[in-house]
């Protein structure tokens, strides 16, 4: 279990670093893809709703601490993303390339749209509808393209960590 936690922590820190330093350079109109969201989706797809919720909460809280927004908002949105994606898992079949693309894009777009909508409710003028749409589309497309890589990497890492623990 501890090995799994360590692996997930490493995954989270790596994703946060890449998000804030590397992917920012690929921003389209100030919006760039989010690897952290993808790792939440990956963990939920690999382990189901419960790991998805736990990892989503921790990842969200860490993001909250580093971002300027309301503390707890990312935690809420990411844990719900992890939960719902985890619930979807049994219906996704073999998890082929197209499924990964689709789930990565849809869940990411839903994630940022929910975050944006909540921000709009809590701090009205910070977000406008066109901005929300732009962010959902850009993050959805970007994350969809990145999804197969991230999902495979996280799944492989988790499998290796789990296997060593058992035997």
């Amino acid at each position: 279990v501890t090995r799994r936690v360590a692996v997930l922590g490493l995954v989270l820190v790596t994703a946060l670093l890449l998000d804030t330093v590397v992917l920012v350079g690929l921003a389209v109109r100030g919006v760039s893809p989010s690897l952290v969201v993808l790792t939440v989706i990956a963990v939920a797809l690999a382990g189901g709703p419960e790991p998805g919720v736990r990892y989503g909460f921790i990842a969200g809280l860490t993001t909250d601490l580093l971002a300027g927004g309301l503390l707890g908002l990312f935690a809420l949105v990411h844990l719900l993303t992890g939960y719902l994606t985890g619930l979807l898992r049994p219906f996704l079949g073999d998890g082929g390339l197209l499924v990964q693309l689709g789930v990565g894009a849809a869940a990411s777009a839903g994630n940022v749209a929910l975050y944006g909508a909540l921000t709009m409710v809590l701090a009205q003028q910070a977000v406008t509808w066109p901005m929300l749409l732009l962010v959902a589309v850009v993050v959805g497309l970007g994350n969809g393209l990145l999804a197969p890589f991230v999902l495979r990497a996280v799944t492989a890492l988790l499998r290796r960590a789990g296997a060593r623990r058992d035997r």
């Binding site: 330093v21 100030g30 580093l66 300027g68 309301l70 719900l80 944006g116 921000t119």
Partner: protein, 287 residues
């Protein structure tokens, strides 16, 4: 199976509740308290990592951007060249402004003389927020940086410091929808308020002489006011559209000089004591 599902639902419920409590506490608490401390701690742990990785990937990022978009490297080169030219051209203008300002202040019998004392800083990675209209810089309260200070680069006003830890500070960009600045049109002297609108052009609200036409291409600069910490006459942008004029106020689009998505080296203005008169409260919504 049933108990499994119950357990899972309870976990979701508890964590949702915790998140909502955190949001509520943070919403009420604002700028102080343990959550704020936790946040500063997290940033001070994470920022060196970001800085380190940034040093490693900056050249690689430039390379990727170069092959990603055709001619993008050349554009970057041109942008850098333009920045250099602007820096060179800006030197005498700045000196001129300083002198003019000193004269005006002397005329007003003000005791202090404005001298732009600045600290150079590197932008080290944006905070992980899709609606990011603030950036982190690698100087903080140890370098004399405090909330309310203005931040510039060679093109003009970048934003305002909202938060400072020992070695780092957060800058709210002027394009942030929660940012507002007192400005005037350089050509005509009309006063106004400039508000950010994210990735769209900024919005200028004229407060006097609203009937007087403002030509497209007019320069918009900051206007100092008592208690404010933004120096006078810092260029912000140019009027991009004639806009609509009403009875009491006119609204115009302003294209900012600064490219907020490509910030590198910035200067924090430390000369005026930080007495921020916030035009809009910040930090409430990820701005």
């Amino acid at each position: 199976m049933i108990t499994d599902r119950h357990r899972r639902q309870r976990l979701v419920g508890v964590l949702v509740l915790v998140s909502l409590v955190l949001v509520t506490v943070d919403f009420r608490q604002g700028e102080a308290g343990p959550l704020h401390t936790a946040r500063q701690l997290a940033v001070s742990v994470f920022a060196p990592l970001q800085g380190g990785l940034g040093d490693v990937v900056r050249p690689i990022g430039g390379f990727v951007a170069g092959i990603g978009g055709l001619g993008s490297l050349r554009r970057e080169h041109e942008a850098l060249q333009a920045e250099l030219d602007a820096l060179r051209a800006g030197e005498p203008a700045l000196a001129d402004l300083e002198r003019e300002n000193a004269e005006l202040r002397a005329a007003l019998a003000l005791q202090e003389r404005l001298q732009l004392t600045t600290t150079a800083a590197q932008v080290i990675g944006q905070p992980p927020d899709a609606f990011r209209w603030s950036v982190l810089i690698d100087v903080g309260s140890d370098d004399g940086v405090a909330p309310g200070m203005a931040v510039l680069n060679a093109e003009g006003l970048v934003g305002r410091v909202t938060d400072a830890t020992g070695g780092h500070a957060r800058v709210q960009l002027a394009a942030s929808p929660t940012a507002g600045y007192a400005v005037r049109v350089a050509d005509t002297g009309q006063q106004g308020l400039l508000e950010g609108r994210g990735s769209r052009p900024m919005e200028l609200l004229l407060l006097d002489d609203v009937e007087a036409p403002v030509p497209v291409g007019s320069e918009v600069v900051t206007r100092a006011y008592q208690g404010g910490s933004v120096p006078d006459g810092i260029p912000l942008g140019v009027v991009a559209s004639p806009g609509v004029s009403g009875e009491v106020r006119a609204e115009l689009d302003v294209r900012p000089h600064v490219d907020f998505s490509r910030l590198g080296v910035v200067l924090v203005v430390r000369d005026t004591p930080a007495l921020p008169v916030e035009l809009e409260p910040d930090e409430a919504g990820g701005g």
